[in-house]
């Protein structure tokens, strides 16, 4: 990437301590292990992987909302330049307005007793970003309009809204402080396709309009293919492949990426059962297998995979893959 990245995870590890024995090394969950990614300003960067692979944790670490155990996250937006590991109190407060999280779960905690106006205004009030109620109202109306919520909506309570409208409320709340970087985490909620298309189009429009950078966490590879410019694939806390979207979907190199793509149900009823099926489940991160973390499910695993962990290496322009055998398998 020619631009200075807006945000960079540098050999980032996030460990969560586990209750354990008094003797011996302290046990932990390696939720994120030695991950390096760069996100260019204006990028819509996708992050995919199975449940438990560490996507939310990585996203939260980039928001300084998960502990940074090793490595660092660097943020550089032209105005400020932060090392998230070493943020002072004042800087952290400032970072909170620059980086925000959207829960893409329509049933997520939108407080039922607050009006939509108050829900959207809350971050402004908590961070003390506006000086008067008039200014707050103006800011709320402006951002609500961008999210296609009208003045009438602002007076109502969230229970009166459909799933799509609730999403727009959460988006407005995340945008109201004027952030540069947004982590959009779809957790598990599968939205109706029509609402999903609408919300995605809205996010893209807002991104262009406000010059935002997104880390878009999703379970749905088809969605990622349509909205993201770059994609990173995670497995058991590790980055296994990263590439521009088109490259990743046309020439996936990691056996895990290939398996994920092949598991997407085809819309063609005559194309049944030809998918390459992945057996078993993602191992527990408290007790990861030695060597390549994917070796317990990989159809191509060899002895070397069981002892030596593959490092990320270049497989083309901006294309990186962590597999001992990618070259051999590509030919």
């Amino acid at each position: 990437m020619s631009d200075t990245p807006l945000i960079t995870a540098q050999n980032l590890s996030v460990h969560y301590p586990l209750r354990g024995n008094l003797i011996g090394p302290k046990p932990y969950v390696g939720a994120v292990e030695n991950v390096t990614i760069e996100i260019a300003p204006g990028s819509f960067f996708g992050l995919v992987g199975e449940s438990g692979s560490g996507k939310t944790t990585l996203g939260r670490a980039m928001l300084r909302a998960a502990p940074i155990t090793k490595g660092d996250v660097l943020f550089e937006d032209g105005e400020v330049s932060y090392s998230l590991k070493n943020l002072g109190k004042q800087e952290l407060k400032d970072y909170r307005k620059r980086a925000q999280l959207i829960f893409q779960d329509p049933y997520a905690a939108l407080s039922p007793r607050m009006t939509v106006r108050d829900i959207i205004a809350e971050p402004l009030e908590v961070m003390g970003l506006t000086k008067s109620r008039v200014e707050t109202d103006e800011r709320v109306r402006e951002i609500a309009a961008k999210c296609r919520l009208n003045v009438e909506h602002l007076r109502r309570f969230p229970h009166a809204f459909s799933g799509g409208q609730r999403q727009r409320i959460s988006i407005a709340r995340a945008l109201v402080s004027g952030p540069k970087f947004i982590v959009a985490d779809d957790s598990v909620a599968a939205l109706d396709v029509s609402i999903q298309a609408d919300v995605l189009n809205l996010l893209k429009a807002i991104q262009e309009d406000m010059g935002l950078t997104f880390l878009f966490i999703s379970h749905d590879l088809s969605v990622v293919a349509h909205v993201c410019d770059h994609v990173a694939v995670m497995y058991l806390g590790r980055l296994v492949e990263t590439a521009p979207t088109r490259t990743l979907f046309s020439t996936p190199r990691h056996p895990y990426t290939q398996a994920l793509l092949s598991a997407i149900p085809s819309l063609d009823p005559d194309d049944r059962g030809c998918a390459q099926k992945l057996e078993g489940e993602i191992p527990s991160p408290t007790n990861p297998p030695p060597g390549c973390k994917f070796q317990t499910r990989c159809p191509h695993a060899i002895d070397r995979c069981r002892v030596e962990e593959p490092a990320l290496e270049s497989a083309g322009t901006e294309h990186n893959v962590a597999c001992h055998r990618w070259q051999e398998l590509a030919s």
Binding site: A190, V193, A225, A263, I264, P265, R272, A275, K277, E281
Partner: protein, 333 residues
Amino acid sequence: MSRLIDVENLTLQFDTDEGRITAVDDVSFSLEAGEVMGLVGESGSGKSVTAKSLMKLNPRNAVYGPDTKITLHLDDGPVDVMSLQNDTEMKVVRGGAISLIFQEPMASFAPAISIGDQMVEQLLIHTDFSKAQAKELSIEMLDRVGISDPSTRFGQYAFELSGGMRQRAMIAMALSTKPKLLIADEPTTALDVTIQAQVIDLMKDLVSEFGMGIIFITHDLGVIAQTADKVAVMYLGRLVEQGTVRDVIRRPAHPYTRGLLAALPTLDDIDAPLTPIPGDIPSPLERPPGCVYNTRCQEVIGPRCSTEIPKFSQVDSDHAAACHLHDPQGDAP
């Protein structure tokens, strides 16, 4: 194939604080043994409520329409589900002939009782098995759905299993009574694609092995394409299109089905724009008159759409849609 269930004119309303709402409106379909029917539609369209009606499982504030008739064809003869009154009479359908797999597997297991004890308890209610036999069968079923080390899993609690395993355990429990009809309500929605693919395979194997009928509820048309023989599309409580999976997906005849397909991101053309259906699904308190889809339809053909409820018209031998586009004359003079 033999007929398994006939649903005729199913209408279901709920009494709520805000008034009486119509959740299901005059829905009719039938299913043969060994057949998989996909039921699709946006959330709130009435899929789950329809499914629960087949077992009369809806809560007390539910009011069934007077013309509603649900007939389950069992070996001992037809059962008129609407006429079943008390729990004893309901035993034949609930957990016996019909099993239901819920959307949220966590909700279907009691947290403080082990998976195995719940399976055994269910079998003791619905079969004549002894406790030992029930345990043996439960472990066998856990094994059949691909859960490794089933005798250990038998003693574990729902929270100790991963999402995929929990879903498999649900399926094992639902199948242990050897139901004639399995209703799977969004059984894969909360799963990763890799686990979803495993569960889909498993369900397909089970149909061919047990020959049961399946109603597969989902809003994922890809999952439908991979599992169903036929499809019914629901919108705001009404069925709007029915047909074989090939016909409905390749030649959707109802504007709503076409809208759903256009909104779907596919890998065939990743540059194609995602086209949402305009507007929001109306509240069930404000159901539009005429065609329920007329507030969002892009193909409205005239005032009839907002005055006259479209009837099903055949568009092919096994394919029908309820839209005035396919019924140019209609009732109007």
